[in-house]
Structures are given as C-alpha cells and as structure tokens.
Amino acid sequence: MQLLMQQMVDGIAWGSLYGALALTLVLVYRASGIINFAQAEFAMVGAFVAWQFHDWGAPILLAIGAAMVLSFFGGAAAELIFVRPLGRNASHFTLIIITLGLMLVFNNGAGWVWDFSTRSFPEIWSGPVLNIGPAVLSRQAFAIIAAAGIIAVILYVIFQRTRVGLAMRAAVGNPESATLSGIGVANLTTITWGMAAVIGTLVASLAAPQLFLQPNMLFTTLIYAFAAMILGGLNSPPGALVAGIIVGVVENLAGTYIPGIGNDFKQAIALVIIIGVLVVRPQGLFGKKEVARV
C-alpha cells in the first residue's frame, strides 16, 4: 500500500511536468497548427539562461523570473523568424523539418555555449520531504505540481476572462472570421509562442534540480509530453495537463508492477500510448474531433 501510494505521488509529480510541457505543445499547436518539436529545447535553453543568471549572482527565483521574461521574446522571435514567413499554407512537411532544424540548433547551440557536461541546478524550495499519508514528496516536486496548477489557473483566467484571451480563442477557432472582426491573428499567434516558451522555461527550471541541467535533459520527458499531448487530444489545454498526470501515474505504476519493464522499457509505454490513442481514439480524451471536407 505504501509503495502504491508512493508511486502514485511520484507519478503525479512527474506527470505535472509532462502535462505542463504538453501544454506548451498544445498552445503552439492550436495557434499555428504545428507540433513544435523544438519546444522542449526552448525550455531547456530557458533553464540554462536561468542557471547563467544565478551563476552571475542573482537569487534563484529572480534568475528564473528573468529567464522567463527573456524566453517570452525568444519564443515570439522564433515564430516571427521561422514560422510566420512561411504563411498559413505551408505544408506540414516543411514545418516539421523546420522545427526539427530548430531542435538541433537549440540543442547543439546550448552544448556549444554551456558544453554537454551535467551541472546541478539549485532548488527553489529545499528542506525535508513532505509527508502525504504514508508517502513522501520532495518540496521541489511539490513546487512543480503547484506550478502546473498555477499555470492552469492563470491560463484559464486569460482565456476565459480577458479580451486578449477571447481574441485568442477566436483566432484559433476561426482565423478568417477573427481577422474580419479586426483581430490581429498573426500577432496573437506570436504572443502564444512567447507564452508557451515562458511556461516551458518555468517548468524546465523547476525540473532541472532533479534531471540535472544539460542539453539533452528533456529528451526523455519530451516523449511523455508527446504522449500526454496525444492522450489529452492535441488541441485541449486542460486535457494536456490531465493527460500528463495520467501518463505520469501509468508510467510509474507500470514501471513498478509490471515485471520486465525496467527503466529502459518505461519509455516504450509512451510510444504504446501514442500509437494506441491515435489508432483507437484519434481525438484523444478531451480533444475535438477534426472534421475534414473532402
């Protein structure tokens, strides 16, 4: 029982990370219609920037905050430079190749600037573990869960309670009509990319103490984030968060209770989830079914 509880708690903690990363993928997908394979690398670079500020003497919270502000401009710039010029009718193939190219550039660029060795990243909330019933949870892991919750609330308020959020939803729902109503769809897309980068930087900075900071730190996480994105249904932000937690719990329980699934095989679970969901229920748990006109 204690083991089960512990695995659930760990699963929720990791799942919040997967969910938050999946959320950034979903935001970009809704805005631009592409899966940005470089999204996790944006987050990784954001964490490196935070580390750099801290290394220069800034307190860690301030460093993460500054990195988040910078990543807003970084994410927006990536959209402006690499995606907007292609226009709305660019083929998926072109966009896939371009985001793959960005992934490589960011990954190796970080390796060039900060090299590939792993470094430690300070925790924002250190101290003895928290007791949750029979299970324990590190304070940093709690911070990740809390951050995912706060992000969800903030996004909900932005999307449902502000004019910008309304415009964003309109831009996603029907770009043509939104444009005709005087909404700057292209600019909102750019802003969305910036927002996604900010969220990515925050969660990557929070996960960095556990994962250790290095250019490939989010590769493994990325597959689970893909799984969460597909399970949640590509275009549903709350779906991504919930599915992230589901993926985290399933992955932890399977790794513990199904014999023969060690640490290495655990990643295959993500692939099984992805293929299974796409074949059985392509719209995921919370997504809208896409209707195509032939």
Binding site: I34, I35, F37, F82, P85, S91, H92, F93, T94, I96, I97, I98, L100, G101, L102, M103, L104, V105, F106, N107, N108, G109, G111, W112, D115, F116, F219, T220, L222, I223, F226, A227, I230, G262, D264, F265, Q267, A268, A270, L271, I274, I275, L278, V279, P282, V294
Partner: protein, 351 residues
C-alpha cells in the same frame, strides 16, 4: 520568375544527350572500381559509408519523396539490421553475408507490422510517432542487454575478403557496399519510374484521386514503408561491416536527423539527390569534427533551416535551374508551363 522563385518550384529533369550520359556513367563506374586500389583504408571506409547511406536514402526517398509519408524512425530498422549482424555473426557463427537476406526479411516484416497501423495517420501524427520511435530506440536496445550487451556495445571482426580474391578488408567492404548501392539504385530507379512510382506519386498528391484510379493507398503505403525498412535493415548490416562496432547511442535522434538530411539536401524525390545527401552526411561531420563536439549537430540543424527556406528543391533543384541557363537547354526549361511543373512540387506533400 526570378531565380529564388525557381529554386522553390520543382524543375523538370535535365535531359543529358544519351552518348554523353553513357560515357559519363562508364567513366564514373571505372573511377569507383579503380579508386579503392589506390586509396588509404580510412578513405575507403568513408566512401563505403557513403554507399551505406545511399542504400538507406533510396528507400526513404521512395517513402518520403515519392509517397509523401515522412518517417523519422527508420533508425530503428537500421539498428535491427546492425544488431542482427553483430549477434548472428558473433554468437551464432553465421557467415557475414548470409545476414543480409535475414535482415532484409526481418526489417520488412517489422516495417509491415509497424506501418500497417501507423500509416493511417496524417503527416504530423506520423512524424510524431516516428520521432518518438527514434527517441526510444536506444533505450529499447539497452533494455535487451542480454543480447545487445547494453551500453557496452558489441565489437565484431568480420567481412574479410576470401583469400582467393586477395583484397584488403577495407577494399573488399568497399566493393560489397558499392555493389549493394548499385543494385539498390537500379531497383529503386525501376520502381520509381514505372507503374509503382506513378501510383506512389498519385498517393502523395491526392489519395482520393489515386483510389478512384485503382490504387489502394493503404496497401501500397504499407508495402513501400516495409520495403524502405528492409533497405534500412540491409544498410544496418553493411554499416557493421564498415564500422565493426554497434552501440545503442548511434541509433537515436541523431541518426533520424541524418536520414532526413540525406533526402533533403540533395533534392527530395530525386535519385541523384540521395547521392548528394549521402556525401553530405558523411563528409560534413568528418570535416567539422575537430572544431567542436556540437558543430556537427549545429551544422545539420542550420542546414535543414537554410535548405527549407532558400533551397527546398535541394542541390538537384539548383543544378536544374542552373542548367536552364545553359545554351540549348534554356528554351526547353523556360518553355515549361508553370502549372505543369507545379504538379511535381514536393513541398505540397503530406498536406
């Protein structure tokens, strides 16, 4: 149409006068056959790697270039071939060349099993699934560490020339890889320019129309996926002859990107482009290797971005545009109706 616009649209192939083409081909083959006898072992191995990549690239070109199905996961089939070779030769004492048909069949079967469900997906989903496959391939290899020796990898000593031939190992491997590349080239060329090739292009451009014309998209796509997987498997075997080592980290994301570069740099959908691509992926990293650990990856990333923005039709596209300015060719290419050449545009694929 200015030159940048021309570089973005697919141009028709340049017609080389037949005698010139025949002489050129014979000269090229003679050069290929003669070179290993006078080159250093290191050079021969590097050239053998070019042939290995040509074998993979031709299969991917059929799949992505002609059929419009993107796969980032063919490194898994390449790894299957490589590990089959390492294990069967080392542990079970197979003759090294008998692994080739085995790997082809095994990779074909696995490709069929994977392709059947996965090819129902649209472009983005297919890319996501196959990229995930590429990301987990190393950890799957490590999970079977009783066979694959995990992180350690397997060293093998194989593909020595029969004593009757009297060649050094590097020369023998070079000739074997050359033979494999030429055979693959002939088969893929025949496939691409016949009935099969036309049905592949029909699937890429419009599946609905292809269906009404009697092509069965699901079946055709699956078989082409399996066929390209089989070529990747064979290439994996050849790879072990050249490198004589397999380790899990060689088959991850980097290999997936290498395969994509392979078909993009030369010019997607063209056979000659694959050869350019293979030269690129072998020689660019080896030229940049002594600069910095990250330069090879960085140069690959920048290459992808630059080619997608400036030269989506690849080196072959560039050559075709330049050939259009030659006296004698100018009229032919300039006279092509633009709507006609748009049908060949590879950048509309998987939309």
């Amino acid at each position: 149409m200015n030159i940048f616009a021309k570089l973005r649209t697919q141009q028709l192939p340049v017609q080389t006068p037949r005698p010139l083409a025949v002489v050129g081909l014979v000269a090229l083959l003679a050069w290929f056959a003669y070179q290993p006898l006078v080159s250093a072992p290191f050079v021969n191995f590097e050239r053998s790697m070019v042939f290995v990549y040509v074998v993979v690239g031709l299969g991917l070109n059929l799949l992505t270039g002609l059929t419009g199905q993107i796969s980032l996961g063919h490194g898994a089939f390449f790894a299957l071939g490589a590990y089959s070779s390492a294990t069967l030769v080392n542990e079970y004492g197979w003759q090294y060349w008998t692994v080739v048909p085995f790997a082809a069949v095994a990779a074909f079967a696995l490709g069929y099993l994977v392709g059947r469900p996965v090819l129902r997906l649209t472009g983005l989903q297919l890319a996501l699934v196959t990229l995930s496959l590429a990301l987990i391939t190393p950890s799957i290899i490590k999970a079977f560490d009783d066979i694959t020796k995990g992180q350690e990898g397997i060293i093998l000593d194989t593909a020595h020339a029969p004593t009757a031939v009297g060649l050094e190992r590097d020369q023998w491997v070079y000739y074997l890889c050359l033979l494999a590349a030429i055979l693959t080239l002939v088969v893929c060329h025949r496939l691409a320019h016949g009935r099969v090739g036309r049905s592949l292009i029909a699937i890429r451009d419009n599946e609905t129309v292809a269906t009404t014309l009697g092509v069965r998209p699901a079946v055709t796509k699956t078989y082409i996926f399996a066929f390209s997987a089989a070529l990747a498997g064979v290439a994996g075997v050849l790879y072990t002859w050249v490198v004589q080592f397999v380790g899990p980290d060689a088959f991850g994301l980097h290999l997936a990107i290498t395969f994509i570069i392979l078909i993009i740099v030369g010019g997607i959908g063209t056979t000659a482009g694959v050869v350019f691509g293979a030269l690129f992926v072998v020689y660019v990293p080896s030229m940049t290797a002594d600069l910095d650990q990250s330069i090879a990856g960085l140069s690959f990333g920048v290459t992808l971005l630059l080619f997608m923005f400036l030269l989506p039709t690849g080196v072959v596209g560039l050559l075709r545009v330049l050939a259009g300015y030659l006296p004698g060719h100018g009229k032919r290419v300039a006279g092509v109706d633009e709507s006609e050449s748009a049908d060949l545009d590879p950048l509309t694929l998987s939309k």
